[in-house]
Symmetry: D2
Subunit: 157 residues, 4 copies
Amino acid sequence: MASVNKVILIGNLGKDPEVRHLEGGIAVARFPIATSESFKDKSGQKQERTEWHNIVVWRGLAEVAEKYLKKGNSVYIEGRLRTNNYQDKDGIQRYSTEIVADNMTMLGGRNESSGGAGGGNYQESAAPSSAATSSGPAGNTGKSSAFHNDEPDDLPF
Amino acid sequence: MASVNKVILIGNLGKDPEVRHLEGGIAVARFPIATSESFKDKSGQKQERTEWHNIVVWRGLAEVAEKYLKKGNSVYIEGRLRTNNYQDKDGIQRYSTEIVADNMTMLGGRNESSGGAGGGNYQESAAPSSAATSSGPAGNTGKSSAFHNDEPDDLPF
Amino acid sequence: MASVNKVILIGNLGKDPEVRHLEGGIAVARFPIATSESFKDKSGQKQERTEWHNIVVWRGLAEVAEKYLKKGNSVYIEGRLRTNNYQDKDGIQRYSTEIVADNMTMLGGRNESSGGAGGGNYQESAAPSSAATSSGPAGNTGKSSAFHNDEPDDLPF
Amino acid sequence: MASVNKVILIGNLGKDPEVRHLEGGIAVARFPIATSESFKDKSGQKQERTEWHNIVVWRGLAEVAEKYLKKGNSVYIEGRLRTNNYQDKDGIQRYSTEIVADNMTMLGGRNESSGGAGGGNYQESAAPSSAATSSGPAGNTGKSSAFHNDEPDDLPF
DNA sequence: TTTT
DNA sequence: TTTT
C-alpha cells in the first residue's frame, strides 16, 4: 500500500469515442488522445514527437464522452494507469496500457462541436450506474474564522 | 467552467490534527504540513525554504487523520486550493488559503506511530457522512482483449 | 526532505498580466486566474463557487505571459505553492499565497487573441535569466527493444 | 500543441535498478514499481490489484537511482508517459509503455538502505549530462508586499 | 477579477 | 517483481 497512481493529460482526440453499453446499462467509452512535445535534435532542428494514450471512461463519464466528445476535441483527463495483458487472435501474449479516467474536462479546440457542453468538468461518480453527477465540493460563505470554520453551511464538505 | 484546481503535496505534519465533530456526526480535521526545497543562493551556499500548508479533511478522512496521523508523520495529500476570507478579532479582513484534501496516503516517517495503519490510502467518499470507504477502482482479470474488454467482472469500473 | 509541492490549475485570467522587468533583465509577471466548481446545495439548487489564484511567473514564462496572455484567456498552470508574509501599509502582518508557475500552456478560450501562440506549452528554464526554452523531452524512434533501448539518438533524454 | 503528459506515482521497486552508462557518460536506469489498489468485489470481499510501471530515468537521476534505490524501496515519481514500439525477437510488433521520470523522491519503506539519502528530492537537470542538481526554487524573505515583491533577493526565481 |  |  501507500501507493499513488495518477495521470494528468491534455490532448486531442484522434477518433470519436467508441461507446458500448453493457448489461445493467453501464456505459464504457474508449478513445485515443494525442499529446505532443517539441524538442531540438542534436543538429538544432525542431522536432516533434506525438504520444498516443488510450483513454477509458465508465458510466456517466462515458455518456458525456458519447454525447460531447468528437475527434479533434481537446480534453483534460485525470485518471490512473492500467496495463492489461491478453492473448491476441494469434495466441500471442500482449500488453496494453490505458488510462482509466475519473475526471474529464472538455477544453474545446479543433472541430469544437459546441453542442452545448463546451468546457464542462465531469467526475466519476462513486455510485455505480449513475450519471456523472457533480460529486464535487461545496461552498461556505466563510464569515467566521477561516481556519476554524465549523458551521456546516449548505454542504460542509 | 473548464477549470481544474488540484494540489499534490508530500510533507510532514507540524502538529497533531485538530479534530472537530460537527452536528450530524461530521468530522473535520485540520493540520499543517511542511514541504521544503533546497536551492543555492548567489554565493553558492545551500539554502532551504520551508513552506507550510494548511490541510483540511472532512468526514472519513478526518477520522483517519484523527486516529493515525501525528506530528512528524509524512503524508501524501491530494486536494484543491480554497481561500477563505474572514474578519479577524480586530475587524480586519484577512485571507487564509487552505488545501481541502480528498485523497490522503500515509507515508510513515518520523515518529511513525505505526499503530496499525502504516501506508493506507484513503479517499474522500462521495456519500455524505460516510466513513472513508474505498470508492476506488476495480479489477478485471483481463483474459479478453485489453482494448475491448467488455465483460463486466466483479466491478467493471 | 522527501517533500513534494505541486499545483495544477486550469482557469481563466481575471486581468491582463502585470509585468515587471527587474535589473538584470529578469521579467516577472503576475495575474489572477479563476477556477470554479459547481455543486448542489441542500435544497438541490445548483450553486457555483469561484476560487481565485495568484499566479507568478518568472523570466521566459513571464515574457510569454506578457506577449500572449490576456484577461479572459484559459490557461493550464503547473507550479508550486508559496506563502509570503509581509507587513501591509498599516503595519499589519499579512499572508499571501501564490502559485509560482514553472509550466504554462495556453488553452485559448474567450477573447482568444490568437496572435500566433494559441496552445503553446512553455516550461521554466533551469538556467537563470534565459528565455523559456523548451527544456523538453526527446525522441527515440525505438527500433530496438523498448525496455532496453540504449542507442542514444538525437537526444536520449 | 497545448498538451500535457504527466504521471505521478508512489510505489515500491520490484527490482533493483538496472543501470547502463552510454557513450558520453550518460546514465540510464530502469526499474519497475508497483502500485496497488484495493476494492470490494461484488460479494463484498476485499480484493487487491497491483499495477506495474516501468520507470526510466536519465543522467543524474539515473545515478541517484543506481546509488540509493533498491528493490522494495518506496519512491515518488513524476514523469511522462511514453509508448515505444519495437519488433520482438520473433519479428512481432510490440508496444511497451514506460514512464520517463523527471522528478524522483525517495520515501523510504522496507529494506530502507538508509545509506545517507533517505528522502531526497531529485529533479531532471535541463543541462545534458549534468548530475541531478537541484534546479529548484528559491527563497525570498518577503519583507515587502507579497503580491508586489520585486526586490530580487538571492535568487528571485 | 474570469468563465459557463 | 514490490508493499500492506
